[in-house]
């Protein structure tokens, strides 16, 4: 039984959560992706706030389940997972380490500074120069706005000819 003397520090809990992989992109953790918004104790109950990447992302409930399982395995028996919608998740919350891991895994990390002009402010937004995660060439082309998951687009490198996923910037 955890009480105010034995309960682990939220920083320690965050470090534990760095070991929980994202179910769809297991190269990065839920902490790397910026999905975990808050970790704090509400007397002797631990409250973990998570945010969905996309409103229809089917991984969100799996992520909640895996966080719960990981923390129960660490002896935290009273915990509550809260879903938080605001502010909406942005790829700017992916950590530097997360970006490095994505690239090493073969997924081009998102361009920094999400947002940009709205489709109404500029007639057509220009495609960004996305570097190939394999050969680093920026001579790449977008094949499709969507890839194997909503968060990724499909690209192809014109130099090394390798197709690759790009983690969309939102």
């Amino acid at each position: 039984m955890i009480d105010s003397l034995t309960r682990p520090d939220p920083d320690q809990i965050r470090r534990w959560l760095e070991e929980v992989p994202d179910p769809e992109v297991p190269a990065v953790s839920v902490m790397d992706l910026g999905i975990v918004r808050d970790v704090q104790w509400d007397s002797n109950e631990l409250v973990v706030a998570i945010t969905p990447t996309y409103s229809g992302c089917p991984a969100t409930s799996v992520i909640a389940f895996e966080i719960e399982a990981a923390l129960r395995a660490r002896g935290i028996d009273r915990l509550r997972i809260e879903r938080r919608l605001s502010p909406p998740w942005t790829t700017d919350w992916i950590t530097r380490e997360g970006r490095r891991r994505l690239e090493a895994y073969g997924i081009a990390p998102p361009a920094e500074n999400a947002g940009g002009p709205s489709p109404f402010d500029r007639f057509l937004r220009k495609p960004l120069a996305i570097a190939c995660p394999r050969c680093k060439s920026e001579n790449t082309e977008r094949v499709s706005e969507f890839g194997s998951t909503p968060c990724k687009a499909q690209y192809r490198c014109r130099d090394c000819l390798e197709p690759f996923d790009y983690f969309k910037c939102i």
Binding site: P52, Y54, S55, G56, C57, P58, L85, S86, P87, P88, T90, S118, P119, F120, F123, L124, R125, V143, S144, E145, F146, G147, S148, T149, P150, Q154, K168, I170
Partner: protein
């Protein structure tokens, strides 16, 4: 109708638009002209179904009769659906699907952008979440209107036909009734008429670049927001609701 009932109605409209269009797009799964398009349409559908859950859960919560998003989606009949007629129109060919999407996305984008300033923080946060997704939906459907309109003779002909045929369903997007007016009064939602100019500006500029001609504003087909639907909705619901109707309370 009191303020709470009006709000529930309004949320049902937002949720039902996303649900019915999401379902329509999911019908392309496994049938698209190319694998990339299959993935793209399914992913847009997934975004819309995600937004549906947020809107309908909120509607059910405010209604307070124990209905959640699933109950509202699976256990209402056609007359109780509040989506605009545009989104229930059949997929047709790829040009029809993309023209329908472009008309809707451009409006949806403007509407959600306004709703991010809603006085109700629950509405504002769902709108902010959805707006990010709808931004790339719009970019994509706009690209397809350009590509097909300014493409081959065949693709141009098909896109022009789609733009013409769906035009009469766009008027409903900007027509306000007492529910919309109640939302404006409470500071919860925008005056729909104010969305018309920017919408028309984008649609006109896109059509021009795509070498398409826009029909003249004219008579608009309306009714969906009040539950008066085309025959298509019943068929959609027969498919969408089959499992819950055949096996009530079945769970995954």
């Amino acid at each position: 109708m009191n303020a709470q009932d009006a709000l529930v109605e309004y949320l049902l409209r937002l949720g039902d638009n996303a649900l019915i269009l999401g379902h329509r797009l999911s019908e392309w799964c496994g049938h698209s002209p190319a694998l990339e398009e299959d993935l793209a349409l399914s992913n847009v559908a997934l975004d819309l179904i995600g937004q549906t859950q947020l809107w309908l859960n909120l509607a059910g919560e405010i209604e307070g009769k124990g209905r959640d998003a699933d109950k509202l989606a699976y256990l209402r009949d056609a007359r109780d659906f509040r989506n605009v007629l545009l989104v229930e129109q059949p997929n047709g060919d790829f040009a029809v699907t993309m023209a329908r999407q472009f008309y809707f996305d451009a409006w949806h984008y403007l509407l959600l952008r306004e709703l991010t300033g809603s006085k109700d923080p629950r509405i504002a946060e769902i709108a902010a979440k959805g707006l990010k997704e709808v931004t790339y939906h719009l970019e994509r459907s706009q690209e397809w209107v350009l590509r097909l309109g300014d493409g081959t003779e065949e693709s141009h002909r098909r896109m022009q036909t789609a733009i013409d045929d769906l035009w009469m369903y766009t008027g409903e997007l900007f027509a306000s009734d007492e529910i919309d007016r109640a939302m404006v009064q409470e500071g919860l939602g925008p005056d729909l008429a104010t969305l018309h100019e920017p919408w028309l500006g984008l649609v006109r500029a896109t059509a021009e670049e795509a070498t398409l001609s826009l029909p003249q504003p004219g008579w608009a087909q309306k009714g969906g927001k009040r539950g008066i639907h085309s025959e298509h909705l019943g068929y959609i619901l027969a498919d969408l609701q089959f499992l819950q109707r055949a096996y009530p309370n079945a769970t995954w």
